[in-house]
Subunit: 385 residues, 2 copies
Amino acid sequence: MTIIRPAFSRRMFLGGTAAASGIVTLGLPLAATSAAAAPTPSPDYGPAPGVAKLNANENPYGPSPSAIKEMYEASKLGAYYVGASVPMLKSMIAERYGISPEQVSFSAGSSGVLTYIAMAAGAKGNVLGPDLFWDTTARMGTRHGGELVRLPKNEDLSIDLDAMYDAITDDISLVQITNPNNPQGTVLDGEALRAFCKKASQKVTVLVDEAYNELTDKPEYYSVIDLVKEGYDVIVARTFSKIYGLAGMRVGYAISSPENAAMIASYGLGDYALNQAGVAAAVASYNDLGFLEMSKSKIVEAREMVAAGVKSVGLTALPSSTNFMFVNLGSLNAETFRQKMAQRNVLIRGIYGSYTNWSRVSMGRLEHVQMYIDALPAVLDEMGA
Amino acid sequence: MTIIRPAFSRRMFLGGTAAASGIVTLGLPLAATSAAAAPTPSPDYGPAPGVAKLNANENPYGPSPSAIKEMYEASKLGAYYVGASVPMLKSMIAERYGISPEQVSFSAGSSGVLTYIAMAAGAKGNVLGPDLFWDTTARMGTRHGGELVRLPKNEDLSIDLDAMYDAITDDISLVQITNPNNPQGTVLDGEALRAFCKKASQKVTVLVDEAYNELTDKPEYYSVIDLVKEGYDVIVARTFSKIYGLAGMRVGYAISSPENAAMIASYGLGDYALNQAGVAAAVASYNDLGFLEMSKSKIVEAREMVAAGVKSVGLTALPSSTNFMFVNLGSLNAETFRQKMAQRNVLIRGIYGSYTNWSRVSMGRLEHVQMYIDALPAVLDEMGA
């Protein structure tokens, strides 16, 4: 993107302050105000045309038309701090799960609540997680106390829940699981996870990040929100960033006991981290089944395309319950693969941790997924596969 | 506001999952999906008609038309995490002050960065502030370490900078000043504050919250951003919530040394706390002098109206350099005053700390400010003034 120097249509005189004195109201330096007149250009809000952005697990079919309409209405009142729309959204979420509104903690994306939970845990001990999961917030939260302790790597990239339970030593204050997991895309069996949570939560708080739950084939079965209701020390994180197609609007939340909600509130900005447009979009989208069905069916279609595409070039991918897939490159290097794809305007992820031959690709629009598939033979050929 | 139960137009069938099995895709419980069809209503995003909302220092003339237009464009791409628009905004801010972009730290409103700075300070010692200032973030930040230490109360509600310097003992790790101050509305002399900051920052980090700077008559004179440039250990917080009329869109920032920016980044979510619409609005508004001039002139007009109004009923207000005024109620109770005003659809603030007879009123639209003025005689009469 080209950054064009902001300029000003005229000098600012107000309240009798003379620009000649070197003091301009609003604090605009004279040098800037004397620049040639030119409007501030609109920045780019999304990927450039012709670029397949498959690197951030976004749902490019969003926001839903209903959300866009409500964002427009809400943005006109963007001068006011969020008000009645927040308790409304909180009530909608609470009602769906049969919990009380005070069990719902908002933040600007679920990153916020996930980070606060890790900070609280870090102040008391260490956070235990699988070898490979979406650990960004656990790493952020433990920067000022505690450590992120990881399970040993499993060759099949699964999470061994028995090993995880055995790893809950006295210095662990939080267990975190991403389900479905990221970047793997695989989902833990609901009953197995439920049994683990019941047992583990007797010892420590269990945090389950369910960002991709709505993309599985059995969302209720895979979710452990019922355990929160039953009083287990379990916290579930959810987001409007994935299937709801609102990553850029920053609305996420935790579902927990009122006590854990108070703990989360003691770190964050609470509802004031939310913006008018984001809340409006979330309210409009939450029950927009037409949009959600359409998005899910497109994502499922894209997954089938990728599975067939990688198979046709002799590769395999893990079975995905999400809007991304983890592709086994065999002996090839995932970072080189990423660079070669980027040269063809296909943006994907590079190496995760020690998984040097695994590559994550997100399900964008079908035409962009097709660009990925079309690029595969030439990229593999260049890499000497 | 009435909360209407969200309902669904039809059940959700996708991927062959049978609703009869009790498992519905997207995790919507059967009870909810079988509810009668009705659309989710739009919530209220602003104050109800006929209500004078003068309790939150918002600029009701915002967002600017240019911001509303850009929010609409950006919200259509709300499926994507914020991208190129953030470095663009950062560059615009950095350019105005002649600093480097890495000296600008964003958060969802300046509350974010203010809280992180207080957390960092709390981990090392205590935060020193005036008796009365906007202390919300200092209190939030020190909940898990450190304390907020306050200067003694001054009868004239001013900040004694000499006393503040003397109060910087070894256990103080941060001095925080809000300038102009809130709820007083008064501004510290620029040269006096600059001299204080130069001296105090030799001992501890000095944080100056300049949320209302653009509303003063000499913004450059009152700001200490120049001291950041000169290398003093000073951090300045700024926001798009006040004169820019974007309180509900959550864009604020700190200006600091690269080292302090790294410290701030170690707590927050960084740029990912921002939303597409908010950034778009900030970019569009930052140099929209027509809108900013208009807003400022309306706010100045409202201040003159309030000053004349309170004078006509025998009260006084502190001279304000902001979009709110602090009114001396003499022997009357500010909370009772607030309640009586609320009965007349005029929303203002109640008691701050031990200032039981001081009342803050924000400059809303002129017709709303007029409602406040019109209500004054009857309210005072009821209170036996």
